[in-house]
Amino acid sequence: MKVGYYPGCSLHGTSREFDESLRAVAEVLGVELAEIDDWSCCGATSAHATNHLLSVALPARNLALAESQGHAEVLAPCAACYNRLAGARHEIATDAALAARMPELIGRPFANTVAVRNVVEVLHGLLPTIRVRAGQPLAGIKVACYYGCLLVRPAEVCSFDDAEDPVTMEEVVSATGATPVAWDMRLECCGGALSVSRTRSVVRLGRAILNDARAAGADAIVVACPMCHSNLDFRQSAMVRRGEAAMPVLFLSELVGLAFGVAPDRLGLRRHFTSARSLLDRVQPPAAAREVR
Amino acid sequence: MKELQELARTLLSSGTVGVVIGWEEGPRGARPAFITDAADSSRLIFDHRCTHNLATYLSPRRPHMARLGKAAIVVKGCDARAVAGLLRETQVKREDVVIIGVRCGGVAADPAGAKPLTAETVAERCPGCTAREPHLADHVVGEAQPEPPGAPTRDARIAELDAMSAPKRWAFWQAEFARCIRCNACREVCPMCFCERCVGDKTEPQWLESSPHPRGNFAWHVTRALHQAGRCVDCGECQRACPADIPLGLLNRKIAGIVADRFDYRATDDPTVPAPIGAFSMSDRQEFIL
């Protein structure tokens, strides 16, 4: 299986561990990630806050590149990239006038034929393989799956799962041998980019999420979004109070990698701000944990 | 072949049916056969020359057939769709007919066509056929056949016509229809033309002039096409029967395209699938309506 790969800026920057773990997991699963040549910014929040047309054209350029490079589908691991790419695809598909303008705007032919996938969706499609490849190292580990906002909404764009009650991430986690917990804050806002401008709001929101996961008995939170990860991991020290245990926050690909027995180093687990040691200590065989500082 | 003959023998000698409608060897190639005596079952054949759609003999407007008793009929996949059409339009009851399906690898345009079947001799509807397996049959005999030789040609010709200006298309069809002698062979051979009294024969008022005259010819062919919309099974019999070589298959193919495009309907041998004309959808396209 070969799939076009759109890493976006995060996976080359703050979330390198997402990229590293994903490549390690893809290798085990026999998925070839073909990075799109000459990819550019998806537009993220800035574009659609300033110019609507631009916010569609930027993703369209990348989709057109993928199209010309022969890809039927593109994997966009970052939830924001995914949302922008899938959103633009949807908008162009449902607006003939917009579709007609696209080739001229982006300066290349574009038929809007490329499907956009996120990590949860792709891994979910490989459940049987994951079950076979996963040993038992995660047995007994409880995980809170955190979707955030961009992965499953809006419903008409992100139709791979129920926008209000998604289950795919839990199913992937189950396939790794870990146990997903039932909790309430799975879809709550993490504060997103307000992390910089209104840090206190993000701390307040993140704390509620951490507390709920902890109350549900989770040993770790699993995410599939660099923004969520950054907020819950990087800002966690401000969220937990004295006496409260830290909550490791893992990318879904990292958890799957652990299940496959990939060395934590290769999964980038050492890059986290909140130590994953408490979790790694429980991963069987515990030898794996030694590779981390 | 043996299998088919054996089956016919059993059906006749057990009294299950009074007649088996199939094909036999005739002086000019294959021809329809009506076997009423089990001993004659060995006359039955099936090969690429058996182009006739025998379903037309099931029409209740053929009383001499009814006299032969309950019928078993040999059908190719395309013919089975005609039987389904008759069932759908309550002309035949399912329990009144035994359907023997044969697996088809395409037939020749001419029942006298020599072996083997080639891209030159194959009937134009056969290449790319999607109905070679008769699902409706009570018994299916014979082994799976290879794909018919050759490539589909009609869609390209239709596209060519569609690309012409209206006056050019008009001239094309007028030249074709000008040859029509109103012999009604297209109608008589058609399994789906089972009306008691064809509108083409109606007087008081006479909507369609019945003499071979350009005006009546045009009206007839438009009306025939319209009445076939969503009903034609593309068995090609009208075109084969036409002594004037009018490309009726082209027109039929065009209609099939229209109903597929607009109503998502394709001829099928499942009689429970309702025909598109006589039904409607709230969301039918209406781009042609102001």
Partner: protein, 150 residues
């Protein structure tokens, strides 16, 4: 096929309209009561419902020398008989495409939904159909079938 300007002036197309009793006929009545002036080239034949309008009527009208034909009835969901217009829509969708395939200029045939309150729309339908037929000129091709030319 377009005619030179002076001929267009002189030519008065004959247009037959088949309309349903409840919507378009009443809409045409409203155009009358509203005194909406329109081209005098259209003659209306009243049927109960578009469901009753048979493609044979259209063929016959062309055979008899009509230069244009209008078929008009109730908007979807407004049919007095619930669904006659839906059946007509399917029937005429196919008929229209077949005629086109056989080389009849699509401008000869006008299909419209005109409700009882759309007198204004009826005027537009009439004037547009007349203008189109005027532009195309007499339907000589069809008349030639009968061996007579206009």
């Amino acid at each position: 096929m377009a005619l030179p300007a002076e001929k267009i002036e002189a030519f008065e197309p004959r247009i037959t309209a088949f309309v349903c009793n409840w919507c378009t006929y009443t809409g045409a009545d409203l155009a009358g009561t509203s005194r909406l002036q329109m081209d005098p080239n259209v003659r209306i034949i009243r049927l109960p419902c578009t469901g009753r309008i048979d493609p044979l009527f259209v063929i016959k009208a062309f055979e008899r020398g009509a230069d244009g034909v209008i078929v008009s009835g109730c908007h979807p969901a407004d049919c007095h008989y619930t669904s006659g217009n839906y059946h007509a829509r399917r029937r005429f969708a196919v008929f229209n495409e077949i005629l086109g395939f056989l080389g009849v200029e699509p401008e000869r045939l006008t299909f419209s939904w005109v409700s009882a309150s759309e007198g204004q729309k009826w005027r537009e339908v009439v004037n547009d159909a007349t203008a189109r037929a005027r532009r195309l000129g007499p339907f000589d091709a069809f008349r030639a079938l009968a061996g007579r030319s206009a």
